[in-house]
Symmetry: C2
């Protein structure tokens, strides 16, 4: 059957099929879309793919994605440079920034400590974080690692490294996710919500 | 928000978002997949896209997709070269070939006659079909245009052009689609099934 397609078309279907969530039928549909698209549109997509791989590096300060040596956030002078928010991955920065509530700097760890997966502290950008704090001028570190075992463990490890620097260390609040119902909240979430309850009047 | 992504990443998300059935969330997910994929894998995809646009042409005999001047089907010596199956688009050839029941040649019209959309006979590869038939050696033309108004109209027009050539003209059978139920077949399908009923014993 596959010999009916031309070689290039076969290869493109195969390449599309490697993308997450794209099955063989969708891959075929996408490949035909490219085949019938205007040449410059298709070539623009090819260029966009190679550009992403060749142009995007990590910011040398915070390890966020950047096409310059220093990322847009680190070089933004309107930000509060005394607060560093620690995240696991660049995507987390994007989600936090979408809230519009963050005017601080970031530090991307590049994952979490997971000894079973062979990822220990040396694989993460942890020494660089400690250096940034030790250089001075930082008043607060906000831990925004994932609220799960691996994320909490990583945050705990960072706390142990930073506790003698005199910098305030906070973490994002835990509690009921807005829009949810108490009926479906599990015991762990409810415990967080109860322990962290706040006065409203 | 979008200024948080780097320029290349933004552009890739935009390009993926142009593909059919890919929404903004999926486009973002695919772009991050590329970002974190191995460089050679990502560049292979970029090359596959540009190859499809630059290498694939139409077969000069039957107008099927091909990377050579003559496609694999037309240059296959094991096929019955006296039968030409007429289809609207190259994708139809692929579907027909998947059945494994076709050992004939094809002719791709490149669409159907649709005067309201401004597509008349001159826009299709019709004169080339008539030439192929007039060159001789053809015993049968199988009409495999779509079983709808536009496809039937196109087949009818082709019949009028070919009726004096002495070549047998057939069309794919109409009837109940295997696997369906009579309960949900509409009147047109049932009429076809009744008219075309075949002796089984």
């Amino acid at each position: 059957m596959s010999e009916i397609y031309t070689e290039s078309l076969n290869r493109l279907i195969e390449e599309f099929g490697r993308l997450p969530g794209i099955g063989p039928k969708t891959a075929e549909r996408l490949a035909f879309h490219i085949l019938y698209a205007k040449t410059d549109e298709a070539l623009a997509m090819a260029k966009a793919i190679s550009d992403v791989k060749t142009k995007i590096k990590n910011c040398k300060i915070c390890f966020n994605l950047s096409e310059e040596p220093v990322c847009k956030i680190c070089s933004d002078n309107k930000r509060d440079k005394t607060i560093i928010c620690v995240v696991e991955q660049p995507k987390d920065i994007i989600n936090l920034e979408k809230t519009g509530s963050c005017r601080w700097l970031y530090h991307v760890l590049g994952g979490h400590i997971a000894p079973l997966e062979g990822i220990d502290a040396d694989h993460l950008n942890i020494t660089q974080l400690v250096s940034r704090v030790k250089e001075g001028g930082i008043s607060e570190i906000v831990m925004a690692t994932n609220p799960n075992l691996a994320g909490d463990g990583t945050a705990l490890y960072l706390c142990s490294l930073l506790k003698n620097t005199g910098v305030k260390i906070t973490r994002l609040a835990r509690g009921l996710p807005t829009g949810s119902t108490i009926e479906f909240a599990n015991a762990k979430i409810l415990t967080d919500a109860i322990t962290g309850r706040q006065q409203i009047e």
